[in-house]
Amino acid sequence: MPVKRVEKTPMPVRDPHMRAHDFEEVNEGYCFAHAMFEAERCLRCQDPVCVDGCPVRVPIADFMHAVAANDMEKACRILREANPLAAICGRVCPQEAQCEKNCHMTKRFGPVAIGHLERYVSDWEMAQPMSDEVQEPWREEKIAIVGSGPSGLVCAGELARMGYHVTVYEALHAPGGVLRYGIPEFRLPNSILDWELDQLKRLGVEFVNNVVIGKTITMDDLFGKYGYSAIFIGTGAGLPKFMGIPGESLNGVYSANEFLTRINLMQAFDFPNAETPLKVGKRVAVIGSGNTAMDAVRSALRLGAEKAMVVYRRSEKEMTARIEEYEHAIEEGVEMHWLTNPVEVLGEDGWVTGLKCVKMKLGEPDESGRARPIPIEGSEFVFPVDNVVLSIGTRPNPLLVKATPGLKTHSWGGLLVDERQVETSVKRVYAGGDAVTGAATVILAAGAGKKAAEAIHHDIQSEAA
């Protein structure tokens, strides 16, 4: 098989001027020829180091071989076995920091587009006819999953495959967690999430919306009254942080969570057909540099902002967003203001009018290992803006912990887990994803859900034996 020593096949994308005004998906996906060509670029390394970069250890080389051989069914099987959320991860994983970072092609030609191919194969799978048959659980034990984000969905799927009765409880009116309320349609269409949910329903997983565990039903009742044998907590890290600067409660200031939830879950882009409003003015400043900040700033553009900017206290080098989101944002006309720290939100009659910032310079590395930003004295200036969106991180939600005696956390709110990294301080209560690690990625949460499912199965079976 000839190995093509050429550059990475670029992802076809929609024209930036067009796409910046609607919520349709930006990436169009590879066509068959792209996929065949790109899979041929894989060097078939004896020691496929790409796998080491993958939190769920997808056997990438085998997967590449299957794609190159045009055996999509096999490629799907390999992919799904390791990553139950492949269609989502192919779209939102930071591959450049994981599998593709390790690829031996990376230095000279650019990595093999593992992520794009993951998406291609998943899209192929979604286009195949599916039977309506629902699998019946064959074990007696029931498992409750708290939260329907990535870790909960993967844990649910794995346990259903093992034959357990699985119920997923979701506080909102639609399942998906951050995949539903957080990631916008132009990056992850709801139809993809719905397809993944349908797969789980076919495995017999039951979804119950509008139930807040800890409020509607207590953990004790899940065990006692409802008879669950184990509970998995995948409640994520959904509590927004605020900066604590003056003016944050002015009208027009949003947490990125609120901003994105109004758009994604409540569909404010369709106002007034959808009745949840969102105030987006002509000039929007988003504070932060992660994927959520990019999602928010690009959403602002799509909702009519003429000037949409990212304001970040560190430099471009310390930015935490995926490179693709960053590049797409720039193409769409987002302004980046690095080394700029907001110190006050200015307002008039209760409404935002400006964002007062100070210029920063980089100093010695701080405890995170990154250069510490230091304010430059006398460099204060004001951005006239109509909206400020804070995207400076989130913490695990304390609601369930407050309602559940014995559930222990770190001081910052993350759930404490055992040496296996799965069981909490309460017996038969497991946890994974952002609720344990703090805000991280979809794939890490998926990996944690999978690991917890294995542990739950092991613990239940060893007790039965």
Binding site: A171, L172, V211, I217, L239, S255, N257, E258, M266, P277
Partner: protein
């Protein structure tokens, strides 16, 4: 989906609904709220729980038809289902025992007092309820409240029933030594201007006062931060830290301003709703 098993008109724009929601009825505490949605694409709105019955699994809510969602709810009747209803949310207020506890309710805020007063009665507390409305016909749940409190004081702006004047004037009389006695603790639930006035009245006499805030919310679980209020200089989320806060510490100016954030959009949504109705009728 939760089914409406009983609906009763209280005023031309206010109705009481008993809804079949056994999970919520089974875990509700006085002072908590639910969030509901009436149609796909509709808003999520918080509504205080007026009453609950663990045995029958029914939750009672009272809703005033002021926006698109509440008006749409008003169009539902017995046997209809509410699309989504989640709860109980928020924390029940911690009301100290002993002394004379006075609940002040304005407009449909009276409905929210019912459950609390019932609970205080069960605890053996001495209570008074002051409810007020513009006129007699707008008073709600007076009979029900009378059954669960030692004294029910009715106020109307026009004097068509009870005391002629505002609830705060009646409260001031009590602070000044009038019957039924000095208030040792005040619970205030109603429109923002009323809660603000009650705060002012109690502040002058150093009477502790808790107010039930109802800012805009989406998820109701602490995720969006849209319901943030400043209390004692600190940012709190009404959905998970509230809805009850020490009234003397609440930044009412800010809360009032934030409450008006979407006035224009609400009008637009209502207009669209009316237009859709006319189209349907035609």
């Amino acid at each position: 989906m939760p089914k409406i098993v009983e609906k009763r008109r209280l005023t031309p724009i206010t109705a009481l609904y008993r809804v079949d929601a056994p999970l919520i009825a089974g875990s509700a505490k006085a002072g908590q709220f639910v969030i509901l949605r009436v149609r796909e694409g509709g808003e999520r709105i918080p509504i205080t729980i007026t009453d609950y019955d663990r045995d029958s699994g029914l939750v009672t809510i009272v809703v005033q038809e002021v926006g698109a969602t509440t008006r749409r709810l008003g169009e539902l009747g017995e046997g209809d289902e509410i699309l989504d209803m989640v709860g109980p949310l928020g924390e029940a207020p911690d009301i100290p025992s002993g002394g004379h506890i006075v609940g002040v309710g304005g407009g449909f805020g009276s409905a929210a007092l019912l459950c609390l007063m019932k609970e205080l009665r069960a605890r053996g507390e001495k209570t008074t309820v002051i409810i007020g409305a513009r006129e007699k016909n707008l008073l709600i749940l007076a009979d029900e409240l009378a059954k669960v409190t030692d004294n029910l004081e009715i106020c109307t702006d026009d004097g068509s029933a009870g005391f002629k004047g505002f609830v705060t004037e009646r409260l001031q009389q009590m602070i000044d030594g009038g019957p039924p006695g000095y208030p040792d603790y005040v619970i205030s639930i109603g429109p923002m201007p009323m809660m603000r006035a009650v705060e002012k009245t109690t502040r002058g006499a150093n009477v502790p006062c808790t107010a039930s805030l109802d800012p805009l919310m989406i998820d109701g679980t602490g995720m969006c931060g849209g319901c943030r209020v400043t209390v004692g200089g600190e940012v709190r989320f009404a959905c998970v830290d509230g809805p009850f806060f020490d009234a003397h510490e609440v930044d009412f100016d800010e809360a009032v301003s934030r409450g008006k954030m979407y006035v224009k959009e609400e009008q637009k949504a209502a207009e669209c709703q009316r237009a859709a109705h006319q189209e349907e009728a035609a």
